[in-house]
């Protein structure tokens, strides 16, 4: 009995020590890189805004959205002081991880460019397999339903995020 206790103690202490040192190391690296990662993410968002509306010369202040499943914020894009559309930021998760996109919506609620900010899929495959066929399509309002890209590319998630952005856009416009 005593031998077993000693053995269990040794096993527990060794594993706990390895876990603790690993956690400390991860914490230290997180502390050192967190600001840079945040700055990179912000830069990616601004690059995305310019990608969704390349002709825009100004994006308004970020408007936070709460109580929605996917959409977390939006910006109003304008050109020569005239509004040209909204850009919605949406994040969602499926069984393959998380996806963050920017969705451009203009006019009476027509879909514009969708830009991928981050994804746990391999980005090149995701963009080539899903977003490029959609963004290069001539009729985005129907393409959002018809673009197919295989099970792993989260087409349904993208579609749900885009439709939620569209409903917020319509309600904003209706309120105005």
């Amino acid at each position: 009995m005593k031998d077993n206790t000693k053995k269990y103690l040794k096993v527990s202490i060794t594993l706990a020590s390895i876990c603790s040192v690993s956690a400390l190391l991860i914490g230290l690296v997180n502390y050192l890189t967190a600001d840079t990662i945040k700055a990179n993410e912000e830069a990616a968002v601004w690059e995305g805004l310019r990608n969704v509306y390349p002709t825009a010369d100004k994006f308004g202040d970020k408007v936070a959205v709460s109580d929605k499943t996917y959409v977390v914020s939006y910006w109003v894009a304008s050109q020569n002081e005239k509004e040209i559309g909204y850009v919605f930021r949406a994040s969602g998760t499926n069984s393959y991880g998380s996806i963050t996109i920017l969705v451009g919506i203009a006019g009476t609620g027509s879909f514009g460019t969708i830009y991928l900010v981050s994804s746990t899929e391999t980005k090149n495959d995701f963009v080539a397999g899903y977003l490029t066929p959609y963004n290069e399509g001539t009729s985005k309002d129907t393409d959002i339903d018809s673009v197919k890209c295989g099970a792993t590319y989260a087409a349904t998630l993208i579609k749900n995020m885009a439709y939620e952005a569209q409903s917020i856009y319509k309600s904003e416009k209706g309120a105005k």
Binding site: K10, I18, I26, T33, I37, K123, N124
Partner: protein, 244 residues
Amino acid sequence: MDNIKRSQHKESFISGIIKENPLFVAVLGTCPALAITTTVEAAFGMGLLFTFVLVCSNVIISALRKLIPEEIETPAYIVVIAAFVTITKMLTQAFIPALYSTLGVFLSLLVVNCIVLGRAEAFANKNTVLDSLLDGLGNGIGYTLALVVIALVRELLGTGCLTIGAIFTFIPKSTLYILKDAAGTFDYSMSLFSNPAGGFIVFGLELAIIYAVRNHKETIKKANARAAAFAASNAPKEVSKEAK
């Protein structure tokens, strides 16, 4: 004694590169090899990160090999490997964000990469820290070379050109047009090779070439050995004739 040690170190380093290449000889780690070899830069980046994780985990596991009880070897190795993969992820996300987004989920999947865990169980827990470091380095270089060889063929055939500077943005971006030209007057690229199916085809063809070369060498070796044996069996008769 020093010579024996030196040759052992050399063997630890060299064997993973060619003789026991993890991808082309052991056929391990094929999932990322097919998924991220669409461009040479992505393959090279994956190879570098893989080498870093493998070397670090090998060194730590070797250093702790006498302290880790047998019952918890595998969980302890997984914790060490997962810690280094998480650290690598954070550093890549901070300093090479384009590589981070290109590799996507395959960077996290290094935790369960059979080469990393395999080297820990088969080598690092039985050998010295220096040998484990060299083994990790050798296997890492071998895996990187294999990824780059596959990616070179896939990028060239799939896109018609080779591009650098798209992922490693600190290098000026440049494109070498081979199967197509920049103006678009001709384009002999085949997008199939950028897809997973193309990855399988290229990987299969490269494996076939490597095994054909190895088999050819072995056949020559066997033929030479048979010839030597035949010559040896005839030699005494000639001697006896001279004696007569």
